[in-house]
Assembly symmetry: C2
Homo-oligomer: 651 residues x 2
């Protein structure tokens, strides 16, 4: 008995995984889709009381870590909290301006939401606050409907309503375990989108720097530039000079802190220092009478409740716009918050549950919308400062909230003389670091398609609108997945010398083709979207192979399909295989399958394709399949070439 024959008889059959009952497999696939992190694991085999406690701790993580909180931790958190508060106050005021809101709302938003987050959030580093891009989006989407300067009351109501719906949507995503929707914003899309938005925000700050009074509400490059250059006669040099000085100051401190990371606090305190210096300067020189715009009166006191505002807005005609704005800004804010939280968690190697974070962020926005706060999340810049300042737990957020509370109660009059140009300079400094051209270059180097996604998002945001950019980026990202499936790669495989291993000859040029056997590798699931392509492509491979062998002694007798990378198959795919089999039969070529996976085998069995092809023609490895074919080639008589050619002539 030859060794090849021996192998054929002793071979392991390709297994069909045991069929599970329908509801069992449905349950397990739903679990993988919605509960991939298995949050119920900890509840197993526990008493009811313990389960209740664990449940409370699951939804309110502070209950879990507060008992273990120490004074050591508090010292660290206190320093971090004060540091981020010094950033929160000027940034809060600035971003409120970006959202066309009264500045005090920016301060309100740094008071209530951080407190809520400290209780519900599971990140130890996230510093809660308002963010630039969603602020811009709010003003560009709602500003179209209601003029924020002429009809401030209605505008504020709509912003609060949008915040409410953003919160509801965020919490709902988390509760319904749909967090993976956020994953569809690819990293490349976010880079392009954020850079574009930062560019637009920077350009808009020309209003403050140049001391312009009238300015476009548009958020695209063209209308901003038009607005700037049609008003050259209105430019104020005083404002411009002051702006440039502060920009220089802010960029220098940042550069310094980057060079020497121990002095991170220089950078962190720079915005507050600028505000103080700017205010002092205006107060002393009375520059407000010489073309420098100032914040003016800020209402003293804590956040007023705003439930009644929400109620009014619910009856307004603009409700749908507010809901739409809420959902879009909510998703973007969520994506930033989750990504930031996750990055720092990886740094400190603790675990963050995305869906739980969504609930926390959503709840803080719902609570915020009832207490005159607008949309908040975990901005990257503030979180990085928090991290650098050595925060240990979410208590740093509580410290920050307390500091903001004190500001609101006692210090608001101090901001009367703060010049708007300083706020513009602060925004520009924050935004410039978001324009991540290095990431774009990296994308170009590694993955051209990701670069296209990134650059389209950028162009969409800069020349169209923030929403356009977002839609384009998501659409192209999805298109990529669809294209991958619609045009899977097929490649010819050869044997790697001195082994039973077969690999693509494109990747391993030294692999040897096996005479008389065509081995094809399919690189994607076989679905309706690629079934007809694969049919065409495989028959083209066979044609080309036969063409090549036309004048040689060998005949193409076997086609081995390597199914290792075919993760799944649907009914269209099975019909495609059936057609290929028929086609091969007609040409007197034997079709052989190698290594179909469990899912694929199940479907092949149910559709009776295994009976069509014969279980004996399905092998666990390509090597075994080739051995078996070779054995047959050697023992059976080869087809007579002459007879074949005659037959060809007849047809």
């Amino acid at each position: 008995m030859g060794s090849a024959e021996y192998e054929i008889q002793q071979r392991v059959e390709v297994q069909i995984p045991p069929t599970k009952p329908f509801f069992h497999s449905l349950k397990s696939s739903l679990k993988e889709t919605f509960f991939p992190d298995d949050p119920f694991k900890q509840f197993k085999n526990q008493t009811v009381a313990r389960k209740f406690l664990l449940g409370c701790q699951y939804f309110v993580p502070i209950l879990e870590w507060a008992p273990r909180y120490t004074f050591e931790f508090f010292k660290a958190d206190f320093i971090a909290g004060i540091t981020i508060a010094s950033l929160a106050v000027p940034q809060g005021i600035s971003y409120a301006g970006l959202a066309s809101l009264p500045p005090v709302i920016g301060l309100y938003s740094s008071f209530v939401p951080p407190l809520i987050y400290a209780m519900l959030g599971s990140s130890r580093d996230l510093a809660v606050g308002t963010v630039a891009v969603p602020s811009l989006l709010i003003s560009s989407m709602l500003g179209k409907e209601v003029n924020p300067h002429q009809n401030t009351k209605l505008y504020v109501q709509l912003v609060l309503t949008a915040t409410f719906f953003a919160g509801v949507f965020q919490a709902a995503l988390g509760l319904l375990r749909l967090g993976f929707i956020v994953d569809f914003l690819s990293h490349a899309a976010i880079v392009g989108f954020m850079s574009g938005a930062a560019t637009v925000v920077c350009l808009q700050q020309l209003k403050g720097i140049l001391g312009l009074v009238h300015f476009t509400h548009g958020a695209d490059l063209v209308s901003v530039m038009k607005s700037v250059f049609t008003q050259i006669h209105m430019w104020r040099w005083e404002s411009g000079v002051l702006g440039c000085c502060f920009l220089l100051f802010l960029f220098t401190t940042r550069y310094f802190s980057r060079k020497k990371p121990v002095f991170f606090w220089v950078n962190a305190l720079a915005p507050l220092t600028s505000v103080i210096m700017g205010s002092l300067l205006v107060y002393l020189t009375h520059a407000e009478n010489h073309g420098i715009e100032i914040i003016g009166h800020l209402k003293k006191g804590l956040n007023p409740p705003s439930l009644s505002e929400l109620e009014t807005a619910f009856g307004s005609a603009h409700l749908t716009t507010a809901i739409k704005t809420g959902i879009i800004t909510g998703v973007i804010a969520l994506a930033e918050g989750i990504a930031v939280g996750r990055s720092f968690a990886v740094f400190k190697s603790y675990h963050i549950d995305g869906n739980k974070e969504m609930i926390a962020i959503g709840m803080m926005n719902i609570a915020g919308s009832c207490t005159s706060c607008y949309l908040t999340t975990g901005p990257f810049s503030r979180t990085a400062v928090n991290f650098n300042a050595g925060c240990k737990t979410a208590v740093s957020n509580i410290v920050m909230a307390t500091a903001v509370m004190i500001t609101l109660l006692f210090l608001t009059p101090l901001f009367y003389y703060t010049p708007l140009v300083v706020l513009s300079a602060i925004i520009i400094t924050a935004m410039v670091s978001l324009i991540d051209y290095e990431a774009a270059i990296h994308l170009w180097a590694v993955d051209k398609f990701d670069f296209i996604v990134c650059i389209s998002a950028y162009i969409g945001v800069v020349f169209g609108s923030v929403e356009t950019g977002l839609v384009i980026a998501v659409a192209i990202s999805l298109l990529r997945i669809l294209l991958f499936v619609a045009r899977p790669k097929t490649s010819v495989m050869g044997g790697i010398p001195n082994s039973m291993t077969y690999r693509s000859i494109e990747q391993y040029p030294k692999a040897n083709l096996v005479p008389g056997i065509l081995i094809l590798h399919i690189n994607a699931p076989v679905y309706f979207a690629n079934a007809s392509y694969l049919r065409e492509r495989i028959s083209r491979w066979i044609d080309e192979e036969e063409e090549k062998l036309k004048y040689s002694a060998n005949d193409l007798q076997y086609v081995v399909l390597d199914m290792s990378a075919v993760g799944s198959i649907d009914t269209s795919g099975i019909s495609m295989l059936e057609e290929i089999k028929r086609n091969a039969d007609r040409r007197c070529i034997k079709l052989v399958l190698a290594n179909p996976g469990g899912e694929v085998m199940k479907k092949l069995e149910k559709s009776k394709f295994i009976d069509t092809i014969g279980q004996e023609w399905i092998y666990v490895t390509v090597g075994e399949a080739v051995n078996a074919c070779n054995f047959m080639l050697q023992t059976c008589k080869p087809k007579s070439k002459a007879v074949d050619e005659e037959a060809d002539d007849k047809v």
Copy 2:
């Protein structure tokens, strides 16, 4: 030197395919996307004159086969052509009624388009004609805007315009090589959609069968049923009895022909026989005065040119609706035509070029719209009859067109007395065979998800509208692809006894786990959509493995990721791998990759991940990776468990 060490040193390195210049790889990927069938191959190495001839033959296939046409072929084509003409005349009149058009337009549509297709089409079996589902769609989409009975002229103009745009869209898809868009209508979606449409069309025929005069324009179950049952007092028994008789006749002949396929012509001639019998009956009994509606006067003469009608409609306010209708009906008609042409080509084993077929179908509709024809394609029923009648080439279409021409010139007065109820019976008989419940059962058995797609399309069409059904079906189909990518399967692999082969232990329960090494198989490309899922899932596998090993002597020391099925990776995926690597390093676990493909290796190299993980930790097969790990486990000292646990306590 041990054998394991020997293997490690002699091993084949995982190759990085040679980098091609950017434009070269762009060109080749564009070629695979748009020209997978390589239509330019035949032009290579030819003289200019020959190239020109080949080009003409490419676009006008009749030039290629006409010189080889024989009288033998003509005899066969003549019989087939006459047979399908006998089907074309009653079907043409019936489907025109379904599209709310004057019956004669149905006859016109069986004259010009078949002639065009005979010249441009590459299928030898396709019989051109109008089809039921797009006819229904036309009347339901355009009927909403213009009442076909009160404003017939405008309605006809819009239908012709829709046909024109359908043709332009179809030809453009072919010219731009975008034929693969049609592939996104999965087989399951088409089954459900067609069955639903057939159900609705059947229900609508209750109008004809019951002799109702007023009827809903809605195409959903609810409004049709309402229309039928609110008019019980208007039902005409004469019409009902006649209808049931003809239905019985038609179903009996079909049953007979199915049982004895030699008598296919019995079924093929049955519609014409019914029309003749029905007309004679009405003529003799003057049943038109007793509640039996008849066709009435049909205009004699060939197709009038309709360019001026198109021109008028181009200026109308309903142009956008006409364009939308054209595009939707065009895609559906195209999908049917291509699928039918391809099926019969596979049967006779010749090749059909999808994109070329699209151009042919598009051109015939453009030409049709200029000569008073409405949307045509290759309906399944008529093509099957053509095939059974033994057609050899597209000449059978020319014969059919000639027969229809003779009808139009001389025989139209014969249809004066044809009762509408016969036409309804003909439509019902044709439609019932489209309700493919057997296919739905097959889908349920083989692939539950495909069944869901199918049944949603069905429900969408029957209870919503034809467009709703279509959108739902396509959306669910795409969602499936996205879900496959978003939630890839990961599984633990074990060694198959007595071999170097490692396979999923789910599929091969006898595979042995390797102590100290966790081998994970990833089943899909690693993209942004699944990067964070995979990160969570892989760390959960590691956690679970460590949990299991807690009280055993072994430690988890190696994680081998089998990348065989990872067809592609993007920058988010690479970041994910980097994070897993960091995470593994922190736990003192070594990350090993097995068999990354060419694409993946290229990206890993460009992003420097290969340097991070070390080229020596990437293996061609899982077997080699495991051998190397085992060798290290045996030679190096195992980590002291005690030390580890101490370290754990500290953290």
